[in-house]
């Protein structure tokens, strides 16, 4: 995506007293990208955003917008607009006044502002509602007003702090698509914060996954989902079955792992850990529930198979979730699309599961995301 103003964080540290909220963050965000910060609550996402928009001075390191160091430049002088976690619409102003506040402070006349407000109201599908107060709008409508207000300032970078968290599921899904559309239309850089991995994956060109102030991985949605760099990313983004064990042998990008409870299994080594993992190392192997399937014939590779007993089965509309217990009492979840089959299995039945080698990743052992 050509054009647009990029944002770079260089060795960014942010401390509150002794507490380190952001630890040595290095991020390059391309101009015109939809970039997301993804992480659990309290991991420092808002803090990073506030540093970018200028409400917080970094303790160390630099924030660059369009290649320019932003040190000492106040929030009202930066080419950014922030959509706050709680929206922060001005409660005493009408909708149209809210939207055009950035023009008002620059001294634009009323007629001009009114006209621009009407354009933006049309864009967010709220025509004719400009004379209401924020308290008279629904949650989704407020959301759109906040977006229009930020866009009215014509920022080069739009910062969004979990703007959809207050909405119900249907509206959230609708707004995701809408946001993505708006972003593609206006062509500016969006920096989006969320703790909802679905949101991050749907909308973003690139995602940074954070844990406790540390950026664990930056990459496209595919990279982050398919080739997680750390056990935290693997377990935080989407669902995953984890198998702990020790490396038996390393063979190029593949490794054989002696799992604690499920025998010896083959997996590919995640790019970040290639050349690092050696035989004997503690390791974790991840296989997504949807990457597991039933063995129909006996032809599959020995080392990509596991035996398990069905414990429970749940119907989830578009899919079945089957919970199994592996040989050593290991809990395994398998997800199968609902394509009209009657039942997958009955309780207590012994099954043999298989997976494709490229769907299993192994990496050095580490901390998992909290359930």
């Amino acid at each position: 995506m050509a054009g647009g103003i990029g944002v770079d964080l260089e060795n960014l540290w942010i401390r509150f007293g002794d507490f380190v909220a952001v630890r040595d963050a290095n991020v390059n965000i391309n101009g015109g990208d939809f970039f997301s910060f993804l992480g659990p609550s309290g991991c420092g996402k808002t803090t990073i955003l506030r540093a970018i928009s200028g409400f917080l001075q970094p303790s160390e390191g630099r924030v660059l917008i369009g290649g320019k160091d932003m040190a000492g430049i106040g929030p009202n002088k930066r080419p950014t607009a922030l959509i706050f976690q709680n929206l922060a619409l001005f409660p005493l102003m009408k909708i149209w006044e809210n939207i055009t506040f950035s023009m008002e402070v620059k001294g634009a006349g009323k007629a001009e502002r009114r006209k621009r407000a009407d354009e933006l109201l049309e864009m967010i599908a709220l025509e004719g509602q400009g004379d209401k107060l924020p308290s008279e709008l629904s949650g989704g409508q407020k959301q759109r007003v906040a977006i229009a207000r930020a866009l009215c300032a014509e920022p080069d970078v739009l910062l969004l702090d979990e703007p959809l968290s207050a909405l119900d599921l249907k509206l959230r899904q609708h707004m995701r698509t809408e946001l993505r559309e708006i972003q593609q239309r206006v062509g500016i850089t969006f920096i989006y914060i969320t703790h909802d991995q679905g949101e991050a994956l749907t909308m973003s060109d690139n995602v940074a996954v954070m844990r406790a102030g540390v950026i664990e991985q930056i990459g496209s949605g595919h990279d982050v989902y398919d080739l997680p760099a750390t056990p935290f990313v693997a377990s935080f983004v989407g669902e995953n079955n984890v198998f702990r064990g020790r490396i038996l042998e390393v063979n190029g990008t593949e490794a054989l792992i002696r799992t604690n409870r499920s025998g010896d299994l083959l997996a590919q080594i995640t790019p970040a850990a290639r050349g690092v993992l050696k035989p004997g190392d503690e390791a974790m192997m991840f296989i997504r529930p949807e990457a597991l399937s039933l063995v129909v014939d006996a032809g599959a590779h020995e080392k990509t198979r596991l035996a398990a007993k069905v414990v429970n089965e749940e119907f989830e509309g578009n899919s079945y979730s089957v919970f199994l217990e592996g040989d050593g009492g290991k809990r395994i979840k398998m997800s199968l699309p609902n394509v009209g089959q009657d039942r997958i299995a009955s309780k207590g039945e012994d099954l043999t599961l298989k997976y494709e080698l490229r769907n299993a990743v192994v990496m050095p052992a580490g901390e998992l995301a909290a359930e």
Binding site: N76, T80, A88, F90, V105, A153
Partner: protein, 482 residues
């Protein structure tokens, strides 16, 4: 069970009645006395319905000037203390948390310091300052209005700050950040976002500041200089004795307050209703002949009714003349007094007759007429009263008192009573009309002196103040005709 609830309801009702009587009773009584022609603020005896005290009030230069001073000082205090309170409250939210409670204590301290101390220190401080800075500042730093505004604002600003802090606690600082983020300067963010949010609090703080300034006495009493406020003037007036023009002022103030409260409530209700209508909610309304503004808005109805009553009251004031009534009351009192005098004479005649039948009395020198003895007995009676008879309600009865004076004895009564206050508080002093009207033979004899009933008075420790006979409406001596 049921009766228990009933009982507690009754108890609650009773409590409310007592409570409101306690709260509002004095004000109601005081307001009523404004319409009694009686020269002392009282509702018993009720002489004549009259507006003369409003006239007296309107002609009282000093009171009017004092009201003007109070308003000027009130407005000055509003401006100063709202500004200071707002600044203080804003600093409080910005300041480093560690220092917050210390700062808060300092800022709140003036409320805890006695107003007298604040008044004295204000005067002393500015006096010293003007000496240091030279005579150029003299006129300003010793100006009563200047000093009073400053003195009052020291603690009223603390009140307003509390109002602002309460409002600020509900402010989302994110709004200021949002404004800054959208390109506003700090000044613009303050003016366009924070100030409008604070507006209701500023309004209530201003009202509070004005009222606190208007009713302040103890600080002002040291600072007012040549500009006495209303409270100061009222307090000074007591030294010359009060008359119902004070009640008239009280009535006006109470009316304005009731009017203001009702108007505010009516406006508020009207707005809530308008809001509901705007949102398209159904507003319950039966069929009514009232215009829309009054429908379902009891406050508006009460306001209209109240205004109507007050306007009628003052309308009648222009047409109504109490002169005839006053003349009638005077005549009635004189008639009453005459009747009593006759009664007295008759009794004495009887006594004389009895004495003659008993033979010469050793206590009465034979040549002296008995009635003189009655007057002589009256003298020690007033002397025994602990307050020199100042509080004797009989004193108030200017007309009737002078009227009933028995001609034989009254000249013997000393013109000045042994009053500890030198008669300053003697309400009789106020009764100029009354005094002029009824003067019979001796002008300077205080009316109470005419009390012939020497035997009854000395027994009463309070000089007969509580004698129920006093309430009978005609003169101190009216009751004991036995």
């Amino acid at each position: 069970m049921r009766s228990n609830i009933l009982l507690s309801r009754i108890a609650l009702g009773l409590y409310l009645v007592i409570f409101f009587t306690y709260l509002l009773g004095p004000l109601v009584i005081m307001s009523m006395t404004a319409f009694n022609s009686n020269p002392f603020p009282t509702i018993t005896p009720w002489d004549c319905f009259s507006f003369e005290w409003f006239q007296v009030l309107a002609n009282d230069e000093r009171i009017l000037r004092a009201i003007l001073n109070s308003v000027i000082i009130g407005l000055g205090t509003v401006v100063l203390s709202v500004a200071m309170g707002l600044a203080a409250s804003l600093i409080l939210t910005q300041i480093w948390p560690r220092w917050r409670s210390t700062y808060y204590t300092i800022i709140i301290a003036p409320i805890l310091i006695p107003g007298v101390v604040l008044g004295i220190s204000t005067v002393v401080f500015w006096d010293r300052l003007s000496r240091i800075l030279g005579p150029a500042t003299d006129a300003l730093f010793h100006n009563g209005i200047f000093l009073t505004i400053l003195g009052q604002s020291t603690f009223i600003a603390s009140y307003t700050m509390l109002v602002f802090v309460a409002r600020l606690q509900r402010y989302d600082p994110g709004l200021t950040e949002a404004a800054l983020d959208l390109g506003a300067t700090h000044v613009q963010a303050f003016r366009k976002i924070l100030l409008p949010f604070m507006r209701p609090a500023i309004a209530s703080a201003a009202v509070l500041a004005f009222l606190a300034s208007f009713e302040n006495y103890n600080t002002t009493t040291f600072t007012f200089g040549r500009y006495p406020t209303l409270t100061i003037e009222l307090a000074q007036k007591v030294r010359y004795g009060i008359n119902p023009s004070i009640s008239a002022l009280a009535f006006i103030i109470v009316s304005l307050t009731v009017f203001g409260a009702l108007a505010n409530e009516a406006w508020r209700r009207g707005r809530i209703k308008a809001e509901a209508e705007r949102k398209g909610e159904a507003v319950a309304q039966g069929r009514s002949i009232l215009p829309g503004f009054l429908r379902g808005n009891w406050a508006a109805g009460a306001l209209v009714l109240f205004s109507f009553v007050v306007i009628t009251l003052f309308w009648t004031a222009r047409a109504y003349s109490p002169e005839q009534c006053k003349a009638e009351v005077r005549a009635a009192k004189q008639a009453e007094a005459a009747k009593r005098r006759e009664e007295l004479l008759r009794r004495r005649a009887q006594q004389r007759l009895q004495q003659q039948m008993k033979g010469p009395d050793i206590f009465v020198p034979s040549g002296k007429p008995a009635p003189a003895g009655g007057a002589a007995a009256g003298k020690p009676a007033t002397g025994n009263a602990p307050f020199g008879g100042v509080f004797d309600p009989g004193n108030l009865e200017g007309q009737s008192g002078t009227g009933e004076k028995p001609d034989e004895g009254s000249n013997a009564a000393p013109p000045a009573k042994p009053s500890p206050f030198g008669g300053v508080f003697d309400p009789g002093n106020l009764a100029n009309q009354a005094g002029a009207g009824g003067d019979g033979e001796s002008g300077e004899a205080p009316p109470g002196k005419a009390d012939d009933n020497g035997g009854a008075k000395p027994t009463s420790p309070f000089g007969g103040v509580f004698d129920p006979g006093n309430l009978k409406g005609v003169g101190g001596g009216a009751g004991e005709g036995n």
